[in-house]
């Protein structure tokens, strides 16, 4: 029977299929961070269990950590306790760990691919919903809760039922100024935040195949924002080229054997999908969200929608609440909204390619008066690479802050937060109420668009700056 990429990776990891269809699914890679693991290790301790495969597990701190002045340690007592707890746990259970002051430290979803920990054809889990990022390599990667973290630590498996297959095909070439972030925001706007529920999305089509690995990771990263269990892209030459030479990837003859297997993974031509969505790349413009759900998105050339035009009462009420929270009026032009803060970073857009895109816009310009603009590399190695290319100087000369690697202002659990009422142009993944700090107002967009917002002081069409 013809199989999809998801079917093939799933089938290769089924340990046992139970009579009701639930599978014991083997997990190849388990990424662990400080926020969702303490209770899992505690559970192991209470039951007298060990970590079954320390050599398939990696731990790093990212959510809680400050992004400046690292040598001084972590000032917030509760954050420090979580970090110290992780350090105690990895020592006690023998789990490989990248410490805070190591150059390789960074956001878990940046360092997995960067270190060659995440590879095509693997099952990869982490107690974080943006684990879908790693699907860009052609792996099945998804977020799990803390009980499942404990389950994987103890058994290296999960009890799962297979997801349905969804194909999101983006065909054609991307217009000037349109990036991977705009593709995925357009997809979420099209199918909605629950459009992928119960499904694994495979992204196909020439616009997807044309993306570099960083762009593919941005797209897969936000699969969860469309409700999907995971996002995947078939491995190809771009993938193999990316993997080659990564520190923990196979090398030499082992890599050639690995690639031979990875070449068998793409969906069979006759494979059937439960859902198919087609998007014409040529119709996508630079996108920006206006509401408090990632599906509340429009082209930068658009305007804030009018709730009175929404027929469904519950949807209208929801839109009204969004506009009230975001302090927006129906009909306001998106490109006229002044911003207070710009955040460039996160597991969605914290890779070197993202920083290059931001720096290209910032070069020779200045951050607008009154705007605070942060650039937070996704890992210490991204930071070092950017500095080697002189991008840090371009950005700091323009007035951007250049910081240490971490989740930073994506989620308001470390010192980088919005204050109530601040409006932020952000390259992160969620614009939920209070996500970047209580009362903060988030507009999601691409790194180039974020840099354009920083230098103009408002949401701006990056295509106009480039002219």
């Amino acid at each position: 029977m013809a199989k999809t990429l998801f079917d093939k990776v799933w089938d290769a990891h089924v340990v046992e299929r139970l009579p009701d269809g639930t599978c014991v699914l083997y997990i190849d890679r388990h990424l662990v961070h400080e926020v969702t693991s303490p209770q899992a290790f505690e559970g192991l301790r209470a039951a007298g269990r060990r970590v079954r495969r320390p050599d398939a597990t990696i731990a790093v701190v990212d959510h809680n950590v400050p992004t400046t002045d690292r040598q001084a340690g972590i000032k917030e007592a509760d954050s420090r306790l979580q970090v110290e707890t992780l350090e105690r746990n990895v020592a006690a259970f023998g789990v490989p760990y990248i410490p805070l002051l190591d150059d390789r430290q960074g956001i878990v979803h940046i360092i997995g691919p960067e270190e060659g920990i995440s590879l095509p054809g693997m099952t990869i889990v982490c107690g974080d919903s943006h684990t879908s990022t790693h699907g860009a390599l052609g792996s099945l990667a998804f977020g799990i809760g803390t009980s499942e973290v404990e389950h994987v630590l103890a058994t290296q498996t999960l009890l799962q039922r297979p997801a349905k297959n969804m194909n999101v095909a983006v065909e054609g070439s991307l217009p000037f100024g349109v990036t991977a972030k705009d593709i995925v925001l357009a997809i979420i706007g099209h199918i909605g935040t629950a459009g992928g529920t119960g499904h694994v999305i495979e992204y196909t089509g020439s616009a997807i195949r044309g993306l570099d690995m960083a762009g593919r990771m941005t797209v897969c990263n936000m699969s969860i924002e469309a409700g999907a269990r995971a996002g995947m892209i078939a491995p190809d030459e771009t993938t193999f080229e990316y993997v080659r030479g990564r520190p923990m990837a196979p090398k030499g003859e082992a890599l050639e054997r690995a690639i031979a297997w990875w070449r068998t993974l793409p969906s069979d031509p006759a494979a059937a999908y439960d859902k198919l969505v087609q998007i014409d790349a040529a119709t996508i413009a630079p996108m920006v969200t206006w509401g408090t759900s990632p599906e509340a998105v429009a082209p930068i050339t658009g305007a804030v929608p009018d709730p009175r035009e929404v027929a469904d009462e519950a949807k209208r009420a929801q839109m009204e609440r969004m506009l009230e929270y975001m302090a927006l009026r129906p009909g306001q032009k998106l490109a006229e909204l002044a911003v207070d803060v710009v955040f460039i970073g996160s597991c969605t857009n914290g890779r070197i390619e993202d920083i290059r895109a931001a720096a290209a816009v910032a070069r020779g310009r200045k951050v607008a008066p009154g705007v605070r603009a942060l650039v937070v590399p996704g890992s210490g190695l991204v930071k070092r690479q950017a500095e080697a290319e002189g991008l840090d100087r371009v950005l700091t000369e323009a007035g951007f802050e250049w910081r240490e690697a971490g989740c930073s202002m994506c989620l308001g659990m470390n010192p980088d937060k919005l204050t109530p009422g601040q409006r932020c142009a952000s390259t992160s993944n969620r614009n939920f109420e209070g996500r970047q700090g209580p009362g903060g107002r988030t507009h999601l967009l691409s790194p180039a668009m974020a840099a354009a917002a920083a230098v103009t002081g408002r949401l701006a069409d990056v295509r106009e700056l480039a002219r």
Partner: protein, 208 residues
């Protein structure tokens, strides 16, 4: 895990769609190394104003919903992050069952690990249950997991679907890990086989 069998309780109406996990428990409260104690922060921004005072308009600040054990909500409940702190906060407040047209996948999964029953029912029925819930203490709802039924205050029985494996775990309060370890021999065999067939995949090692 506390078994879930039958529950008769006050149901709180929360007529909102896309209730995300940041709304259920904002990220700043995730800095705990415990599972308990999160109930006081459940729905923090909906429940309290900037000074930390209760917002009287929010349902869980009203009698009899302070004692609600069932929550009725709209589409896509629990979307967003994988934080199990969301079901922990619900459970710590006292919620044992959430009824909605549909749920985000990870949240749905996490509920079962904590003895919380997520019930999917069509929107038209949710609308009826929402109206029932607005009547407060006089309209308690019964959830009978064995029979797979929600019993409305007027006695009407509504059938719901649930995965049989998960039903069994909930009814008996069984631990997932114990269940899986019954397959330990199969896991050993799988590992031995893939070690041969995919020997090209190295183990993780962080070099100094």
């Amino acid at each position: 895990m506390k078994p879930f069998t039958k529950l008769t309780a006050v149901a709180a109406p929360l007529p909102m769609a896309n209730v995300d996990t940041d709304k259920i428990i904002p990220a700043r409260f995730l800095k705990t190394i415990e599972r308990s104690g999160l109930g006081v922060h459940l729905f923090d921004t909906l429940r309290y104003d900037a000074n930390g005072s209760e917002r009287p308009g929010f349902v869980l600040n009203q009698e009899p919903y302070r004692n609600a054990q069932i929550l009725i909500a709209h589409e896509n409940f629990g979307c967003g992050s994988s934080r199990e702190h969301a079901p922990w906060a619900l459970l710590d407040f006292g919620i044992r069952c959430v009824i909605a047209p549909d749920f985000a996948d990870i949240f749905h999964n996490n509920c079962f690990k904590n003895g919380i029953l997520p019930v999917r029912l069509p929107r038209a029925i949710i609308d009826q249950l929402m109206e029932d819930a607005k009547l407060g203490a006089n309209s308690r709802v019964t959830i009978d997991l064995e029979a797979q039924e929600v019993v409305r205050p007027n006695g009407e029985r509504i059938h719901f679907e649930i995965d049989p494996f998960r039903k069994k775990l909930l009814l008996e309060g069984l631990d997932d890990i114990d269940q899986t370890l019954q397959h330990a021999a199969a896991i050993d065999a799988y590992e031995a086989k893939t070690k041969r067939e995919r020997s090209f995949i190295p183990g993780i090692e962080v070099c100094p």
